[in-house]
């Protein structure tokens, strides 16, 4: 293009930019363009036709007939003149044209005798290329042919625009999808984060409700509890929904008892049945007892559908029924139905009730409450189990929701899994000292679930009484009790009864220093209330574990010392005296250093004390010291470090008592 004679459109730079925007240069052949080229050839009756684009240096053919090359230099191209024009350029006979009669492609090359070219003009007015008809003989296009050529040129541009828009849309779609994913995972995280403090609020409101309140306070607390319950439902709904949306909700395949699950749903909702409504659960006689599937989700689906049915039914009946539809060698298909005689749903609303945030009536939320998410979640939970939900309803006559789920048959030998079963501990006999009746009930049901036995004392005095009469494996100790509180009771058990039975403190206070005080008084573990079942079971397992059992019946093994002493009793006595004299003090120093975060001292002391413990073969405590030393070295104490120090404290206390007895 250095040749000054070369023609350049006045908007050349803009033109090149417009061309680039379409990303068409050097792309693969496309049918849409090839078809257009063929049309040009047919309509104009020419052996050569093409659609081409012109950049800085070349004319590139997107589609061509009769040319056989993919590009030519711009400075030999006829079309470099065509893109200077706004209309069709037609040269009937190149031999008679001053500009072209000596052109190399006229006297030789492509032997162009006839040329007709229409500029390809973008919507913003740039001529980025041409569509041409070429022949080796002279000719003249009629009006229709010229028109057709212009129309095809417009179509080519439309085609280009569409393709570009599609690419842009695709990119936008990807952005949108990413945003939805981000939103869902944000929702899932947030609802999880909200639920944690909400659980605490609920727990403490429950506790507050159990205190002495005047009627106004009682009323406030009642309202708070209702609001909390509703809020928790909403948050749980959102959490489920976002889990489903982000594909994080997995369907379990665990063996469970179908009949008792259904009974459980029935019992749970029985309390919500309005006065004039009959609530039924109909189970097919040949319903299987055990199946493999997702018990929790079935529960959720049925509670949701049945809860709705009860909510929208003022009189008549609500019936949950389950039937076996088919049975194969490996599977059962079961039809679940929830039918009511309630307000029903109008026909035009039937299609939308499963959509998010849609309820049958605009004012449903105000009249009946709810998030409008429940049915959507139910629908998706059923779809996740490869089925679908159906509804039949008539306004004012009631509704029926039904679906069929397929469950795998349970292996006969397989027993239902109960993850929180303390069976490996045998049948522990546990004493609970707790004055609050609700907490007593709660602990009782949890302990029974674990498979243990429980006796209850409503205060420390009664607890001590029971302890001196019966044999227990461990004590669960509430701290705040009338007559004798948890601290006083523990003191009495340790000092007066001289029992080393494990004691687990249970308290709602979680005050700073409270935990330490529990250990100082001789308790062995600490469970904050409201407690989680798993945490309680873990505490029980910890105090009943081997290390603790060793500690419980600690016998000091002096064989190592005896070997050192070569049997000299005087020397053994001397070393025992040294141990009794020094070690308790060192444990106190260790504990102090730990609380001051004085890592160097913790490290030095635990290292030094290890040798002393080893001589008296206190392997468990010595191991604790190794761990503490290691943690101190890296300045990384864990929540269990304090437990270990407390275990050392209690262990040494006991060892010293035993050693003193031998002195």
């Amino acid at each position: 293009m250095n040749n000054p004679e070369q023609p350049l459109p006045h908007n050349e730079l803009g033109r090149l930019a417009a061309l680039k925007r379409y990303n068409i240069l050097d792309s693969l052949p496309e049918h849409a363009f090839d078809d257009a080229t063929k049309l040009v050839s047919y309509i104009c009756g020419v052996p050569i036709a093409h659609i081409s684009f012109i950049d800085e240096n070349r004319q590139w053919f997107k589609s061509e007939i009769g040319i056989g090359v993919s590009e030519v230099p711009r400075d030999i191209s006829f079309c470099r003149y065509t893109i200077m024009e706004s209309e069709i350029v037609e040269i009937g006979d190149t031999y008679l044209n001053e500009r072209f009669k000596n052109d190399p492609n006229v006297v030789g090359g492509f032997n162009v005798r006839f040329y007709a070219g229409v500029p390809l003009t973008t919507p913003d007015g740039f001529n980025i290329g041409t569509i041409c008809a070429i022949d080796h003989v002279s000719k003249k296009l009629n009006k229709n042919q010229r028109n057709a050529l212009s129309i095809i040129a417009k179509h080519v541009i439309t085609q280009l625009e569409l393709a570009t828009k599609n690419i842009e849309l695709d990119a936008q779609k990807k952005i949108a999808e990413r945003a939805v994913l981000a939103k869902d995972s944000f929702l899932a995280n947030m609802s999880h984060e909200i639920r944690t403090p909400l659980n605490a609020i609920t727990g403490f409101t429950d506790l507050m409700a159990q205190t002495r309140l005047d009627p106004i306070q009682r009323d406030y607390i009642d309202n708070m509890q209702i609001a909390e319950e509703n809020l928790l439902l909403i948050v749980n709904d959102i959490l489920d929904l976002s889990k489903i949306q982000s594909g994080n909700l997995a369907i379990d395949a665990q063996t469970f008892n179908l009949k008792s699950t259904l009974k459980h749903v029935y019992d749970l909702l029985k309390i919500k049945v309005p006065e004039n409504v009959e609530f039924n659960l109909f189970l097919d006689a040949d319903l299987p007892e055990m199946v493999v599937g997702d018990q929790g989700r079935l529960n959720q689906i049925l509670v949701n559908l049945t809860g709705n049915a009860l909510k929208f039914t003022e009189e008549g009946e609500v019936t949950v029924s389950v039937k076996k539809v088919t049975e194969t060698n490996n599977h059962y298909s079961l039809k679940f139905s929830v039918k009511d005689t309630g307000i029903g749903i109008s026909e035009d609303k039937l299609n939308t009730i499963f959509e998010r945030f849609t309820q049958a009536e605009e004012n449903t939320t105000r009249r009946f409450g709810g998030t409008g998410l429940g049915l959507n979640i139910v629908k998706q939970l059923i779809e996740l189990q490869n089925s679908e939900i159906h509804v039949k309803s008539k306004q004012g006559r009631g509704s029926e929701f039904f679906f069929t789920l397929t469950y795998k048959k349970a292996d006969e030998i397989e027993t239902p899994e109960a993850p929180l079963l303390g069976s490996n501990l045998g049948k522990l006999k546990i004493l609970l000292c707790e004055d609050n009746v609700l907490n007593q009930k709660l602990v009782k049901s949890v302990i029974y679930n674990f498979g243990f036995e429980l006796d209850i004392a409503e205060n420390g005095e009664v607890g001590i009484d029971l302890l001196s009469k019966n044999k227990y494996d461990l004590v669960l100790m509430d701290l705040q009790m009338p007559v004798k509180d948890g601290y006083q009771t523990t003191q009495y058990i340790r000092k007066e009864l001289s029992l080393n039975i494990p004691i687990i403190a249970m308290t709602a206070h979680s005050l700073v220093g409270e935990q330490e005080r529990c250990y100082e008084e001789g308790m062995n573990a600490y469970v904050p209330k409201p407690f989680k079942q798993a945490v309680l079971l873990e505490a029980i397992q910890t105090v009943m574990s081997k290390d603790f059992t060793v500690a419980k019946k600690r016998k000091v093994d002096l064989s190592f010392l005896e070997e050192m002493a070569c049997g000299d009793p005087g020397f053994i006595k001397e070393m025992i005296a040294l141990f009794v004299d020094k070690i308790p003090n060192e444990v106190v120093l260790l504990s102090e250093a730990f609380h001051k975060n004085d890592n160097d001292t913790v490290k030095r002391l635990s290292h030094n004390m290890k040798s002393s413990f080893d001589i008296f073969m206190l392997t468990d405590l010595s191991n604790y010291l190794s761990i503490i030393e290691e943690e101190a070295k890296f300045g990384a104490f864990t929540t269990e470090t304090l437990d270990k120090i407390n275990s050392i404290y209690c262990g040494i206390d006991e060892v010293v008592k035993i050693l003193k007895g031998q002195q």
Binding site: C566, D568, M575, N608, M609, K610, S612, S626
Partner: protein, 121 residues
Amino acid sequence: MRIILSEDNDILRKSLSFFLESKGFTVDQFSDGREALDAIEANNYDLILTDINMPGISGMEITQYVRQTLGSNIPIIIFTSSGVEQTELDSFDLGANEFIAKPVSPAVLLVRINKLLKTRV
């Protein structure tokens, strides 16, 4: 046979001394590494028995000083509760003759002491 024992834990040091004395050795015991090293320079011991972590200077430093500065090939036994392999490698690098992990078995200690003293004679 004169042994110098350097260990900062009282109970262990006294027990080991008592044990070795019962087996007929003469034991000088120190709880401070610096004092132990002074004693090594001043006296003529047959064997050094030392812990690593001590106030003053460590058993490693004692070993290094004895081998490099004093140029002595007196048998040295290092014992420690460190379970780190590198500690054992470092000990031998510096010229220790034996490395015993705590808790030290008296019988094993005796066997090793005797072995070292015999090969020396």
